[in-house]
């Protein structure tokens, strides 16, 4: 997000899901698409059947590697080296889009100098990917008329997360793969409405539509509309909030529909932080691990019990409709928030989600043309600046939000934690097809549990042999922060030296192990790399 906003002017999927199947090439990096975004996975497979070249960069042999033209099994956390080398090859072989670079970008020379030393051989030594394969991947990507990049947390959840995105942007810019269909730079967002939450300013530095709280003009607009004084001091990110709680700077916390004890890095630390709060209120549909620590728990309605909108990964605002009445005394979150606001002394009078959307449209330029009436006919993709605007399927056509697309000179840095004698393995984490996040929802369906009912940490058979481990053995996985007992599965899917766990299960909470060290720009924690020790339990 921060990375994309820096170079292009806005952070979101630049293109549309429907365009994927007609891409000339698709570069999937740090995204296990068929398990985490299955319906987009169907599109990728269809594109391949229609002749698209598929490049996959991932430390694990994810299912898409079975049908790809080039597989780049990079070591976790070495993305910048790989991507810089691909850009290096493209420039060295003259495969760049010179017209696009001349008309629409700035900063090429600085970037060219930065990637100069990233020869395929240099990158091969860092990433473990054979130099020939890097060259081939670069040619496949640059050789297509239109090439789409799909990425997710495998790229961003690193201390170098923003740099990873910047070097991906270099690749798209140097080949002119932005501002046209079947191409682009496409972060696939992991949750139904993470895009909407970002768009609405559920972030410490911006109001709705990414309008900065520190900007006096913006703040004046909101002060006038809301009739209250507003702080222009940027707030804390999640990771900072927890630390502030431990430091007694944050005293009371309101958590709505999140389960940070399982999703956030260094779970023991999170638990201690929450315990040190004077007051915690959690609003959720189940008594989650986090809710159990709360002082007050408020019962919320599910998506099937309320009206509103979700914004998908391609910026499409879509209507969610009430099917049944809320269970027991549970209530839609918007009604709970409003009731709480009234008791805090604010005279709010919203009668429906529709009415809230009217206020959002009024205050948010990119949502100005979005109304529930229009959404009845189908979703609308922002920016949608006026009532007669059809929405925007492809961003940056003709011009970037910031004007010119900016190349970045990016250097590879080591991940915060490297394997050593004490902790010789790299642990990387993710999700599976049959469970979702902390399982609050999916574990209520028995059939899904039948497919995936407990953690089976993936370990390469060669490593298992050295450690004297067999399938279904239980191991202690220890990091500098915690210990988890997990059963194992021997599979070539992971490379030697790397182990993989999901973070679905409370009993084997992978985030007891992970590192809360964050990307210095986007503040995204390095969930994808931490050093661990494996011992037979």
């Amino acid at each position: 997000m921060a990375g994309l906003a820096t170079v292009l002017g806005s952070g979101a999927m630049t293109n549309t899901i429907g365009e994927i199947e007609d891409a000339g090439a698709i570069f999937v990096i740090g995204s296990n698409t068929t398990e985490n975004h299955p319906v987009i996975g169907y599109r990728v497979r269809k594109a391949v059947r229609k002749g698209a070249k598929l490049i996959v960069a991932d430390p694990r042999r994810i299912p898409l590697t079975e049908i790809c033209d080039a597989y780049l099994p990079l070591k976790p956390g070495t993305d910048v080296a790989l991507l810089n080398a691909m850009t290096h090859v493209i420039l060295r072989e003259g495969l760049e889009d010179r017209e696009f670079i001349a008309n629409r970008t700035e900063g090429l020379e600085e970037m060219r100098r930065a990637v100069e030393k990233y020869t395929p051989e240099y990158a091969a030594a860092i990433t473990g990917v054979p130099a020939n394969d890097i060259v081939r991947a670069a040619r496949l990507y640059a050789g297509a008329d239109s090439a789409a990049i799909l990425y997710t947390m495998g790229v961003t959840q690193h201390t170098s997360g923003t740099e990873n995105v910047l070097s991906l942007a270099n690749l798209a810019l140097v080949t002119g793969n932005l501002g046209k269909p079947h191409a682009g730079l496409n972060p696939l967002r992991g949750q139904n409405n993470v895009q909407g939450a970002c768009d609405m300013g559920a972030l410490p530095v911006v109001f709705t539509g990414y309008q900065p709280v520190a900007n006096d003009e913006v703040r004046a607009k909101f002060v006038k509309a809301w009739g209250v004084e507003l702080s222009g001091v940027p707030g804390l990110t999640i990771t900072e909030m927890f630390q502030a709680a431990a430091d007694k700077k944050v005293r009371a916390m309101y958590i709505m529909g999140e389960n940070p004890i399982l999703t956030d890095p260094d779970a023991n630390h999170i638990y201690e932080c929450l315990e040190s709060l004077d007051f915690l209120v959690v609003e959720d549909i189940f008594l989650t691990e986090t809710a159990q620590v709360a002082d007050v728990v408020l019962p919320a309605a599910t998506f099937a019990e309320k009206d509103g909108t979700f914004v998908n990964t391609e910026r499409r605002v879509q209507r969610v409709r009430q099917a049944i009445k809320p269970r027991g005394q549970s209530e839609p979150d918007w009604q709970i928030i409003q009731e709480l606001a009234r008791r805090c002394g604010f005279e709010w009078q919203y009668e429906s989600s529709r009415q809230i959307m009217e206020e959002i449209s009024f205050l948010t330029p990119s949502y100005a043309g979005i109304t529930f009436e229009r959404l009845e006919a189908g979703g609308l993709q922002w920016p949608c600046p006026s009532a007669d605007h059809p929405g925007t399927p492809v961003l940056h056509v003709g011009k970037f939000s910031r004007g010119l697309g900016k190349f970045s000179a990016v250097e590879y840095r080591l991940s915060a934690e490297q394997p050593d004698e004490e902790f010789p393995f790299l642990l990387t984490t993710g999700r599976s097809l049959y469970q979702y996040h902390t399982g609050t929802m999916t574990m209520k369906t028995d059939g899904l549990n039948r497919f995936h009912e407990e953690e089976l940490m993936e370990i390469n058979p060669a490593d298992a042999k050295v450690l004297g481990l067999c399938t279904d053995d239980t191991v202690n996985v220890t990091s500098r922060r915690g210990l988890v007992r997990s059963k194992i599965k021997l599979t070539e899917r992971v490379q030697p030296g790397v182990v993989f766990m999901t973070f679905h299960f409370a009993e084997t909470a992978a985030n007891l192990l992970t590192n809360s060290e964050v990307c210095h720009i986007a503040k995204t924690p390095e969930l994808k790399v931490c050093a661990v020790r494996i011992e037979k339990a």
């Binding site: 429907g18 940027p234 709505m256 999140e258 728990v297 979150d333 924690p525």
Partner: protein, 345 residues
């Protein structure tokens, strides 16, 4: 455009269209079993045989020609259609009343159209083969005694999902739909997306715990960020099914295993149904007034004593856009920008 005559009615269709397209444009029914509009044509069931310029062709595959004369109900076409359906029925499980597809079954529809006589059936009817039903998948079963080998599931798996977990196996009258190595579906590469059961024309691939909804509500899937359009099936006050919205530009009706089958959390008995306040380490049910008054009092107290930045809020990527808007608005009304959510997680 190409003009042709189907049962003496003139119709103009795009070059490259099939006779079936032309007939459907006229509203003329031609029976089909293996044809599905989402998939490539297979032409395997032969039930759409019609006479075109005096020759028997499969309507689903035969391209139209200028001036072509098509008869959908010539005696030759009728005879082939009936024979094909009779042969299909000859070893088909006839226990329709307990089949979940009863009254929505394509084979019933086609059999009705071609007209099946009890006498002919009695002559042709052999024993229904004793084949074990594949119950390994928790969500659906594969009952090969109801399978008509139309191949729609095979093409769906190849062309919609793309995982290609199933195909035709064995030969001749032993031909059947199998997984790689003829393992149970649950042990195969099958991703349980359920796209095949959406398209299966008979009860061969069917939901295990199917309940017909009494009404449907259009909405959006609550899992990942793809945002597939769905219809929630409701019966009484319960959600009993989810199906993809074919008109959605996002998913064209397609879903994954979680989206299609993972809705049981909605009706689950563990749902929180009342506000809870922790007293001496134990949660006690409370009224909304009690709970909300307490929360408001503690927030205001904290802001007053330690300043508004002693408050922090974590919003939710699971909640609606409008709810996220109100959440950040409340925290900002209270005087702090300490608002975030799991965008980085």
């Amino acid at each position: 455009m190409v003009t042709l005559y189907v049962d003496d009615l003139a119709v103009s269709v795009e070059k490259g269209s099939t006779i079936l397209d032309a007939a459907r444009k006229l509203g003329i029914y031609i029976p089909t079993l293996c044809y599905h509009p989402d998939l490539t044509t297979f032409g395997g069931c032969r039930v759409c045989m019609v006479e075109a310029n005096g020759k028997l062709v499969t309507a689903c595959r035969a391209p139209v020609e200028e001036g072509m004369v098509v008869r959908t109900d010539s005696s030759a076409a009728r005879q082939v259609q009936r024979t094909v359906v009779e042969l299909t029925l000859s070893n088909h499980n006839g226990d329709c009343l307990t089949c979940v597809k009863d009254s929505r079954c394509k084979l019933q529809e086609v059999a009705n159209y071609v007209g099946i006589t009890p006498e002919r059936m009695a002559m042709l009817r052999s024993a229904v083969p004793e084949v074990e039903v594949d119950e390994s998948n928790p969500f659906f079963k594969l009952d090969r005694t109801r399978c008509i080998l139309c191949g729609i599931c095979v093409r769906t798996c190849q062309e919609i999902n793309g995982v290609a977990a199933i195909d035709f196996g064995f030969r001749g009258h032993k031909t059947t739909v199998v997984t790689i190595g003829n393992k149970g579906l649950a042990e195969s590469r099958c991703e349980s997306c359920g796209e095949c059961l959406e398209r299966c024309p008979t009860g061969a691939l069917a939901r295990k715990d199917y309940e017909q909804p009494s009404r449907e509500v259009k909405s959006v899937c609550p899992y990942c960020g793809v945002g597939c359009g769905i219809y929630l099936g409701v019966r009484g006050d319960r959600v009993v099914s989810v199906r993809g919205d074919k008109d959605s530009p996002v998913n064209s009706g397609q879903l994954c295993v979680k989206g299609r089958f993972g809705y049981h959390f909605i009706n689950h008995p563990d749902r929180l149904t009342a506000p809870l306040i922790k007293r001496d380490g134990v949660f006690v049910e409370a009224s909304w007034d009690e709970a909300l008054d307490l929360v408001a009092a503690r927030f205001l107290e904290t802001a007053k004593h330690y300043g508004p930045d002693a408050l922090a809020g974590i919003s939710s990527a699971r909640c609606t856009t409008e709810e996220n808007y109100l959440f950040q608005k409340l925290l900002r009304f209270l005087g702090t920008n300490n608002i975030d959510h799991c965008a980085r997680l």
